[in-house]
């Protein structure tokens, strides 16, 4: 327990070591540590951001999917409606066409009937004349009795 000059020399050594640590040891290590902390913090923040974005994206994709489904069902609905319409229209057109054909046929028939009647009428008139001629047993001038024939014809109408 004798205090001597060693104390002073040790104090000097101590101050030199303190100076060395303050000047050369602490700053670079602190810088490295702080920089790494910053890198880690940035990485964590980026991860958090990525997760958030993923959440958003999945939400958006769900939205898009739902919309697409809705659109698809709309389209199907429209198509069904359109199909019904087309069927209806086809039916209507077919009916119209049929009606038209029927009408045309009827007109034809009427026309045919008319011409047949005409022919029949002429034939009947001739038959009447021939009959009358036979009854009268004489030539009847068709031209002289045209008015009578016409009258008969008119009656036959």
């Amino acid at each position: 327990m004798n205090i001597n000059f060693t104390l002073i020399s040790q104090a000097i050594a101590f101050s030199v070591f303190i100076w060395f640590t303050v000047k050369f040891v602490w700053p670079p290590l602190l810088r490295a540590i702080e920089e790494r902390q910053k890198t880690i913090a940035d990485g964590l923040a980026a991860g958090e951001r990525g997760r958030h974005e993923l959440e958003l994206a999945s939400q958006r994709s769900a939205d898009v999917l739902r919309e697409a489904k809705q659109r698809a069902s709309e389209i199907v609905q429209q198509a069904e409606k359109r199909a019904t319409e087309i069927v209806e229209e086809a039916k209507r057109t077919a009916k119209e066409e049929g009606d038209r054909i029927v009408t045309g046929a009827k007109a034809d028939i009427a026309h045919e009937m008319f011409s047949a009647k005409e022919v029949l009428r002429q034939h009947a008139a001739q038959l009447a004349v021939a009959g009358a001629a036979k009854i009268l047993r004489r030539e009847v001038d068709a031209k002289a009795h045209a008015d009578i024939l016409a009258a008969i014809e008119e009656d036959l109408k």
């Binding site: 000059f5 040790q10 101590f14």
Partner: protein, 269 residues
């Protein structure tokens, strides 16, 4: 060991507690313990030098194993300082704590080296008959550290609080501002300022010195015969293992007190 003369327990212990001295000047104060100084300087240069070599190449990326080890120690110390000291600790206090911890730890750790083997090495390899290898068993070392920190404490008291502020603190705390209490306050503070470096240094010195004495006593047991040698070795090993704790703990306590004293100098009461 004892050169030529008869080896008695007293001479054995005396030999291990004798410093290698040199006279720098006349008078009993101007004596230098060369062994203490050289050992502590070598330890300091080795530890701070190697830390510096590792830290010089410190990377913010993935650290090497040695860098990670240094960072572990540094962050441990930095955390302790952060909990106690509220200011910019990176300017001085945290590196100071690192210096104190590493240096004291290294000096204390010399105690674990087998004392007689080291005596043989210093005598036969370096040719030094007297060489104490544990600088912290020299009260000069612990006082040098404690007093340096004490002066830093005074310096920060003056720097942070100013002369007036510090005087106010000396006279008006801890009992109160009443002029009747001034003398009492001053006396109290005086005792505190004297006891701080004393307890700071003597705690470290006492622990390590006592540890060394126990090693010496266990070593002396070997002189009694084979059984003494065996028991002495076993107990010596046990004490060395326990000493690992004491060595680290004392270095840590010394560091923490350093931080606490400097922090107290920064804070007004």
């Amino acid at each position: 060991m004892a050169s030529g003369t008869e080896l008695t327990p007293t001479s054995y212990i005396d030999h291990h507690l004798t410093y290698l001295t040199t006279k720098v000047s006349e008078g009993s104060f101007w004596v230098l313990h060369v062994d203490t100084l050289i050992t502590s300087l070598v330890l300091g240069v080795i530890s701070f030098g190697s830390i510096w070599l590792i830290v010089r190449k410190a990377t913010p990326g993935v650290p090497s194993k040695s860098q990670a080890f240094i960072e572990l120690a540094v962050e441990f110390i930095d955390n302790e300082v952060k909990n106690t000291f509220h200011g910019n600790r990176h300017v001085l206090v945290a590196p100071l704590a690192l210096t104190v911890f590493v240096w004291v730890l290294m000096m204390n750790a010399m105690d674990i080296l087998p004392i007689d083997i080291m005596a043989w090495v210093t005598e036969n390899v370096f040719g030094m008959h007297n060489w104490k290898i544990v600088p912290t068993t020299d009260v000069n070392t612990t006082f040098a550290l404690a007093l340096s920190i004490w002066f830093l404490m005074i310096f920060f008291n003056l720097k942070v609080k100013g002369v007036g502020g510090w005087m106010h603190e000396l006279f008006c705390t801890p009992f109160g501002k009443n002029p009747l209490l001034w003398i009492l306050n001053l006396l109290f503070n005086f005792i505190e300022y004297v006891s701080k470096p004393l307890s700071h240094s003597l705690r470290l010195f006492g622990n390590i010195y006592a540890g060394e004495i126990i090693f010496l006593l266990l070593g002396m047991w070997a002189a009694t015969g084979v059984s003494g040698t065996i028991f002495g070795s076993i107990l010596g090993a046990g004490w060395a293992i326990f000493h690992i704790l004491i060595v680290t703990l004392q270095a840590f306590i010394f560091m923490m007190l350093t931080v606490v004293y400097i922090s107290m100098a920064h804070e007004s009461h």
